[in-house]
Amino acid sequence: MTMAYAIHRTGESRSFPAGDAFLDGAAEDADVLVLLGVPYEPDPSRTAILIELGTECLGVHTGEAAGEEGSNALGFARYRNGGDPPSDLVELVRQPNTEERAIEAARAVFEGAGLTVAVSADRVGRIVDRLVRPKYNAALRLLDDGLAKAEDMDLACRLGLGYPDGPVERTVRGGLAYHHDVSSALFAASGQPGDAPARAAVVARARSEGR
């Protein structure tokens, strides 16, 4: 099932960069509204309002109510590994009482555009970054510890686990400074040591700031 959607947009979207077919598929107006960089305003008359997220939680835009929050507003982000092109995955962020019809409408919009949808609670890092950033931090720390050479760690993951790329090459390709920022957001929310950015990422962020 496809569903019509309108887009309100300012500036560049990480999920849908200029030229992305999703932008061209938007209607002038529709019950589902996609916000790309535009501040959220509640509108209960719409089926769904989809707010593009960075590393922040949806609650930053909608407010929270001690775990009782939820409306027709959802967050979303198309997964990107830093500077890599967007993947086919859209992480759809719901709150405890998000309207089911809003979720289904959002799913229909993105799947109608040929994307894959996974629904996540409103947590920093959502699903993918919550799982992979600690792993990449561990890989960078093991590299510092001299466990193996970077190319051997990557080769082991490709050959032994069938991954398309290894953790070090992926983190470096996506940008160590970007990895630092995502990990820092995770660590600020969780306090878990594994989320804290690894030394190499701290160095990369410092250099990018000219320190």
Binding site: N81, A121, I127, V128, R130, P134, D145, A156, C157, L159
Partner: protein, 292 residues
């Protein structure tokens, strides 16, 4: 070049041991398949014959090569049969005292310059070698399952391993058509050091209500291009095995991510072991899928 001509595999009735024996025999090495379980060796020999037959059917080896490779394999239930091996690879139960006892028993039996290799995935090579009488000739040689199909071997020297022994073992893995990578003697080497905590994190995400197992697996596969999601993988290897792996890591590393999550223990207690019990993070109505 490798000076290794004859190879022994201990624990050859098991899945890993029989796979390693296939790798060795297929590459041209006389291979003694040792196990205390004689009936298990017979079953493994049947499975090995079937594997080679399928390899012929698929054009990956000739009929002549199949017969030759099978002829290089000899079963044994006594350690004496390993006396003239140049390399003995153990793939016995993942328990430190078991592996130590095996190497200590092998030391007086085997040639003085024979190399002992451990296929451990979690234990320390230096600890396994300790007290065996030839610590300088013990190396880590971690194959991936299924060994007869996977090329990667994680190679690690123990603290007392000589560079000559390590180089000889390394040369053998290359002669056997494998791809070795060098790691230090650390728990889990590369793969399990990264994979076990990652899988535990996925379980914790389920427990914390971040997403359903299906959504987590979908997200990881779509975002990263992995063939399986972490929860599908845990279902495949067994939730009980994930606990064992976690218990091997956590006491050594004290990494909170390596600790077995409470949900994992509850699921194992409830009999949800993954594919082998028909239910884990996902349901498996078609039990024929397991092991097919």
């Amino acid at each position: 070049m490798t000076g290794i001509r004859k190879v022994g595999v201990c624990g050859a009735a098991g899945t890993m041991g029989s796979g390693i024996a296939i790798v060795s025999a297929r590459a041209g090495f006389e291979t003694v398949c040792h196990d205390v379980d004689g009936e298990g060796l017979e079953r493994a020999a049947t499975q090995t014959a079937s594997f080679f037959a399928r390899s012929v059917e698929r054009g990956r080896m000739t009929e002549e090569d199949r017969e030759t490779a099978l002829g290089r394999l000899s079963p044994a239930t006594e350690l004496d049969a390993l006396a003239d091996c140049d390399l003995v690879i153990e793939a016995v139960f993942e328990d430190l005292s078991t592996k130590q006892a095996l190497f200590r028993a092998l030391n007086p039996v085997c040639k003085a310059d024979a190399i002992f290799a451990s296929n451990t995935s979690t234990l320390s090579i230096a600890q396994i070698a300790s007290g065996c009488g030839r610590e300088d000739l013990v190396v880590g040689m971690h194959f991936c399952l299924p060994a007869q199909l996977m090329k990667l071997i994680e190679m690690s020297p123990g603290l007392n391993t000589s560079e000559e022994a390590f180089a000889a073992a390394w040369a053998w893995t290359e002669a056997a058509g494998q791809t070795p990578v060098r790691t230090r003697d650390r728990p889990g080497f590369i793969l399990n050091a990264l994979l076990v905590p990652f899988n535990n994190d996925a379980i914790r995400a389920v427990e914390a209500g971040v997403a359903s197992p299906a959504d987590i697996d979908t997200a990881i596969k779509a975002a990263l291009g992995y063939r399986m999601g972490p929860l599908e993988l845990i279902d495949l290897i067994g939730l009980d095995t994930q606990i064992l792996l976690s218990e091997a890591f956590y006491p050594i590393t004290l990494d909170p991510r390596a600790a077995a999550p409470p949900l994992l223990r509850r699921m194992v207690a409830a009999g949800r072991l993954g594919r082998k019990s028909g239910r884990g993070f996902h349901d498996y109505e078609d039990s024929a899928m397991y092991g097919a």
